[in-house]
Amino acid sequence: MTETLSDVQARRRALMDKGLARRRAADKRFRWLGFAAVAFSALMLAFLLIKMSSAGIAGFQRSEVRFDIPLAGAMQIDAKRLAQPDPMGGLELAGLEKVVESAAKNALGPEADDLVGQGAWREVATAIIEDPSLLGSTYKASLPASDDLASAQRGEGEPAMQQLARKLASEGKLVRVFDKGFLSRSDATSPQSVGIWGALKGSILTMFITLVLAFPVGVLSALYLEEYAPKNRWTEWIEISINNLAAVPSIIFGLLGLAVFLALFPHYRSAPLIGGMTLALMTMPVIVISGRNAIKAVPPSIRDAALAIGASKVQVVFNHVLPLALPGILTGTIIGMARALGETAPLLMIGMRAFVASPPSGFTAPSSVLPVQIFLWSDEIDRGFVERTSAAIVVLLVFLLLMNGLAIYLRNRFEKRW
């Protein structure tokens, strides 16, 4: 039995129509799957963000006790001394600590010592140094509560203390208020007096070094490999090394930093310089790989066009290929930097897992970074750190968002279609 041509066509057309509903359904399903994937990821993100920020908000607050301190005539010190060097020392000598203590006892009862945070008098001193006229008045103090009182206010710790906390709170003497200082202080022992600025500054310095080293080296290597490298053994090894470095677990970079960078610069243990160098090695391959893909995507006809009017290789690369590839390179850089920003393990190896009580003064000063700070706080004994950890995470996320925002802005500015 032989089919005629139109039979064949009719049969094919029928087959085609029969499959249509299925294909349309498959298309819908596929689209729906894509949407579901994005929605799932977005929901995950929203869940994490909401969870973090709701916990984090509490971390931006602290418990403070409020009472009046009659400063007028309480101490033998005048405004002139406060204008001299070390005014804090002057106030200490004049017995400010005792004044605060007795005022606290008057207002809060005999257990006041346990209620006001250690060294809280320094906040009073700072206020006086700023405004010496306070010396003649009654100072309405709002000082950090002790850790015990703070946790009692959260409903933890000894029942007696909790009862006291409730009583003070109902009298308006114990309040939870926004803690401005959290963003300007550094690490400390008490959750009531910690701050994130030290670690944040450390992260900024470290990321700066990482970017300054990894971006140019990454982009230049990507250009070399895509545009210049002859196809030989040697190039292959470079390629394999880079792909491999992108796949090597981060902790191994920490070992490298320990063995090489710290051997070369032994004095800079814990410094953002070393941290940045280590993270740069880790980030560089990510930039190279995404950079190569972006460069590859630039159509060869653009290169031909430029070459044919007598542009040299370097001109082709820097005038045409690089600008066109830049958006893609920036994407890779964001991913790489985001990874570096959240990285803990390699930094442990080079000493950034440290208690640093003051913000780093420069690239070579000992410092902590945000993820390590979070890691350290999450293991703190005091329960007050739980909220502080969340707050630090919020800070890290905001930093991340800012970094992403900047890169996205740059990416959109340079994006070109052809």
């Binding site: 994490l48 063995a259 995404s290 893909n293 060869p300 442990l348």
Partner: protein, 460 residues
């Protein structure tokens, strides 16, 4: 002399040379209108600038390295130095203190013996600084003059500068090789030490891992079988996490590039990238306290009684979520880079969007997608926090995803930051584990490169 000043000096002189050479090149043009310079004036500028900057910088680096020694020996000749204690840390400290004061970095000395050295230091520093300054300038001028005198209208400045650029590119790409060598060097000694104590065969093929870093006495090779660690690493990082991340990441990329409107894409793409940036501690808590109990209850509900709270699935699932952006971002970029003509060609054949994506776009974008997956796998393998919090730390060799498992990287971190001493084989095993991991990924990449090369499809 502070390095910054020498640096600034070198840059300043380079800039000066750049401007001078450029204007000279312009002058050639003015002098004989109509002649075409071989190279643009800018290239003449760069040529001279390089000849000034590079030697000056090299000298500055050298000088920074040797001048402290020269200064110290100069100071040691001073009578005040005889008061110093003998060689050792104290003496070094005092010298450094005196030096810090002399340089104005500190206000006073901590040890009085150092006080007498401040003045000699100041003198020596002034002397050597001026020497350094003068020589730097001389070197810069020598280089600059050499280069400047060679400028002619037909001077091939561009070719030379481009050769320098090429050299720079080559050096940049060598960083990767150096890093690889650096890693091997930093692992190899301790690894060899470790294998001196534990047989490589026990290590590589043993199926039981429970080294005790606190134990004394000779290590038992039977405790150092790393197979369970490798298995855990692969199972959690490369299997479970990828089962989550590859479909989700790829489908997200597809949705964003092919279906979503431009506005949605512009917003969602960076949002997803945030997932990769959430600190792993957060994921760790999420995995341990939310996902893991859920997984356990679900598993027990369907009758898997061995399910424990610490499970490979819990860790793998959360890890998968974390690395979605690695897959999706790279896939997104490479899918978007496939020429529109490909897509048009397929659509015009009557292919549905999904067919176009699956049969034309994804194959064409495959190298980029594979690169993204590789990055994602490596990130998953390198992850420690989630593993320890959600999957526990016990090295089980099992295919049951509801049991507790651990990974190589977690063991490395634990051993290196633990209490065990650094000459104990348990601690040293971290280096061996790192080495094996490194060699394995190197081999895999080697193979992957070969395979990708063979199947790479060119298009335009």
């Amino acid at each position: 002399m502070s390095p910054a000043i020498l640096l600034l000096l070198a840059f300043g002189l380079s800039l000066f040379g750049w401007l001078a050479a450029r204007s000279r090149a312009w002058a050639f043009r003015k002098a004989a209108p109509g002649t075409r310079l071989h190279s643009l004036p800018n290239f003449h500028g760069w040529y001279v600038a390089l000849w000034i900057g590079v030697p000056a910088l090299l000298f500055a680096v050298l000088w920074n390295a040797i001048s402290p020694m020269l200064i110290t020996s100069h100071v040691m000749a001073d009578p005040a130095a005889s008061l110093l204690p003998g060689f050792g840390f104290e003496r070094e400290t005092m010298l450094a203190e005196a030096r810090a004061v002399a340089e104005g970095r500190a206000f006073g000395v901590f040890n009085e013996e150092a006080q007498g050295l401040v003045a000699p230091y100041r003198a020596a520093i002034t002397l050597y600084d001026s020497i350094g300054l003068v020589v730097t300038i001389l070197v810069a001028f020598a280089g600059g003059a050499f280069a400047f005198l060679r400028l002619k209208p037909d001077f091939t400045a561009r070719t030379r500068v481009e050769r320098a650029v090429m050299g720079l590119l080559l050096i940049a790409s060598l960083v990767a090789i150096l890093t690889t060598i650096g890693i091997i060097v930093s692992l190899v000694f301790e690894t060899v030490r470790f294998f001196g104590m534990v047989s490589p065969l026990d290590f590589l093929f043993g199926t039981h891992w429970s080294p005790d870093p606190m134990s004394s006495g000779t290590p038992d090779g039977a405790d150092y079988g790393a197979i369970p660690l490798f298995w855990g690493t692969i199972y959690i990082g490369a299997i479970i996490a990828m089962i989550v991340a590859i479909p989700l990441g790829l489908m997200s990329a597809i949705f964003l590039t092919q279906y979503a409107s431009n506005g949605v894409r512009k917003v969602m793409k960076p949002l997803l990238e945030i997932l990769a940036g959430v600190p792993t501690v957060v994921y760790g808590y999420f995995a341990a306290l939310t996902v893991a109990p859920m997984v356990r209850d679900a598993a027990q509900a369907i009758g898997i009684s061995s399910a424990s709270t610490e499970s490979a699935v819990a860790a793998g699932l959360v890890m998968g979520v974390m690395i979605i952006p690695f897959v999706s971002s790279m896939a997104d970029d490479s899918i978007a880079a496939v020429p529109q003509a490909m897509r048009d060609g397929s659509l015009a054949m009557g292919a549905t969007t999904s067919e176009t994506i699956r049969k034309v776009l994804i194959p064409a974008a495959l190298p980029g997608i594979v690169a993204g997956v590789m990055l994602a796998v490596s990130r998953a393998i390198g992850e420690t926090m989630i593993v320890v919090m959600a999957a526990g730390a016990s090295a089980n060799l099992t295919a049951n995803p509801f049991e507790s498992m651990t990974t190589v990287t977690f063991q490395i971190v634990a051993m290196l930051t633990g209490e065990g001493s650094f000459d104990h084989p348990a601690t040293l095993s971290a280096f061996a584990l790192g080495m094996v991991l490194f060699l394995v990924t190197l081999t895999l990449n080697f193979i992957a490169l070969r395979v990708v090369k063979r199947y790479r499809e060119a298009y335009e």
